[in-house]
């Protein structure tokens, strides 16, 4: 899958944010910023996604949905928490049903600061995520190769 290296597909989910970061995520896709020219595409299907862009502080009802979406994205995957709420709960951290931070529910790789996060910052987060995605892919193929080699060695051992 090396040809996919620079063209990640993104899944965006709003986990109890105020909408501010979400419209900035959408603004990244439109003419002024236009990340699609780099092959970054916003997909609606978790099974097609490489990167999960997630905003907000996650409330009790959303928790299950977030876990579900995360599970459905195939490995390797990178999670980007966009905005102050996604990092810590932000202005809503004292609300009674806010879990507070995406990393309380699923592992997060990149944090994008800001309230609301600016499109430039979000794009920077995605670029950072690319190298992490690459690293994870390297580990996976590395692990697969070792497994394959072990199997070969085992077969070789059996035949002799």
């Amino acid at each position: 899958m090396a040809f996919l290296k620079r063209s990640p597909w993104i899944l965006h989910y709003d986990a109890s944010s105020c909408n501010g970061c979400d419209i900035e995520v959408l603004a990244c896709l439109t003419p002024l910023y236009d990340v699609e020219r780099f092959g970054i595409i916003n997909t609606g299907n978790p099974k097609h996604a490489d990167i999960l862009l997630i905003t907000g502080g996650i409330n009790a009802q959303n928790r299950e949905v977030v876990e579900n979406i995360y599970e459905q994205i195939p490995e390797p995957k990178v999670v980007i928490a966009v905005g102050a709420c996604a990092a810590t709960g932000g202005v809503f951290r004292e609300c009674y049903n806010i879990v507070g931070g995406i990393d309380k529910v699923i592992p997060v790789d990149v944090y994008v600061p800001g309230c609301a996060a600016r499109p430039e910052q979000i794009i920077d987060g995605v670029v950072t995520a690319l190298s992490i995605l690459d690293e994870k892919r390297g580990k996976m193929t590395g692990a697969a190769r070792t497994k394959e080699e072990a199997r070969h060695a085992e077969q070789a051992g059996e035949s002799t």
């Binding site: 965006h12 989910y13 709003d14 986990a15 109890s16 944010s17 105020c18 909408n19 501010g20 970061c21 979400d22 419209i23 900035e24 995520v25 959408l26 603004a27 439109t30 003419p31 002024l32 997909t43 609606g44 299907n45 978790p46 907000g56 502080g57 409330n59 009802q61 959303n62 949905v65 979406i69 202005v91 809503f92 004292e94 609300c95 009674y96 049903n97 806010i98 309230c115 609301a116 600016r118």
Partner: protein, 359 residues
């Protein structure tokens, strides 16, 4: 009778940036019933008034929704000012009006884009959002924030717009209006758009009124209700007439918003021309004691902030009724009879803002 099946729509769905869940009961391709369930964005902001000082809560009010941010802050501030008997300076009222209308412009252009996306008109989606960026540039230049402005406060506004900037804005309004009219022309006169929208998701005037529809959803059905008519901020001085359509279908609701874009540009132009000189804020002393229903017109309809203070620096209670919540019963009425493929268009025609709805 064909077999009934239930198709879940959302909470994570490509056409919606925000999570809402609707169970659609279908007979073949036709929707016979729609059962919404909400709560994915509920944060419990109303209770937060007891934890933040009344002057600090403006920031929270602004973050009820990232799209109508300024108008939420305005509505909350007006409520507190009324309870405390604070008279806001004229210049602050005019600046608030300009920023409110800028918010409305960017919200409507955003909605027009998403609406075009929902009917599969990608080109129009991109063009609407391109135009929206120039509004965001003005907002960023004058307030420092693109979507969350943080300029409204109890007792006035935090920043002034210099005369040079006002002149520049005034100069840019004409070319901007021309671009908006070119864009609006596609929404109003294009054959494919008309074919997709006319006669879809119809709600009559009586139904809209009885179900408590508000904003463009009500005005698209001929209910001439716009809270700006009551003349809060500077709307009273500037004079204002609501935009009304009578067909009650998705096309009418779209037309209302397109024409409101022109109306907003006109209000901003007159506000800049008539901008009074003077201070932009007054000093706020004391604590709120009393209660008030503060109302303002958001891009999606009327928002109500009920505020009660008990003389301490924290308010005792806030209750916020937002326009999308009021527009969900009309939506449930609109959906039956639509084809499954038209559901995203009908859902978007009320301009759902789930962050507002669930607070």
């Amino acid at each position: 009778m064909p077999e009934r099946i239930i198709v879940p729509f959302g909470p994570q769905h490509p056409v919606l940036p925000e999570p809402i869940h609707v169970d659609l009961v279908l007979e073949d391709e036709k929707v016979v019933e729609a059962i919404p369930s909400i709560g994915y964005i509920h944060r419990g902001l109303e209770q937060l008034v007891q934890k933040r000082e009344y002057t600090e809560y403006v920031y929270v009010a602004e973050r009820i929704c990232g799209i109508c941010s300024f108008i939420h802050a305005l509505c909350y501030s007006q409520g507190v000012e009324h309870i405390m008997g604070i008279e806001v300076p004229d210049r602050a009222r005019y600046l608030r009006t300009i920023w409110s209308e800028c918010s409305r412009l960017h919200s409507h252009l955003l909605w027009l884009g998403l609406f075009a996306d929902s009917m599969g008109f990608e080109n129009l989606f991109m063009r609407s959002w391109q135009l929206r960026e120039s509004v965001l540039d003005v907002l960023e230049d004058t307030t420092g924030g693109r979507v969350i402005q943080g300029t409204c406060k109890v007792g006035g506004v935090r920043r002034d717009i210099g005369q040079e900037k006002l002149d520049e804005m005034h100069r840019e309004l004409d070319p901007f209006e021309q671009k908006c009219r070119d864009l609006g022309d596609v929404f109003l006169n294009d054959e494919t758009v008309k074919y997709r929208l006319q006669g879809l998701g119809v709600i009559t005037k009586d139904e809209a009124y009885a179900l408590g529809a508000t904003g463009p959803t009500a005005r698209g059905s001929g209910v001439a209700m716009d809270h700006r008519e009551t003349g809060y901020a500077a709307y009273g001085d500037l004079g204002f007439k609501p935009v009304v359509e009578t067909a009650g279908d998705c096309y009418a609701r779209c037309a209302v918003r397109v024409k409101e874009v022109y109306a907003s540009i006109d209000i901003i132009r007159r506000a800049i021309e008539e901008m009074p000189e003077g201070p932009i804020d007054v000093k706020v002393k004391g604590t709120p004691d009393g209660e008030y229903f503060s109302r303002a017109e958001q891009p999606r309809g009327e928002v109500v902030h009920y505020l009660r203070g008990d003389g301490s620096k924290h308010l005792a209670r806030a209750r916020i009724r937002t326009p999308t919540l009021a527009n969900i019963p009309p939506l449930v009425k609109m959906l039956p009879g639509a084809q499954l493929a038209d559901v995203p268009v009908v859902v978007l025609s009320i301009d759902p803002c789930i962050s507002c709805t669930e607070r």
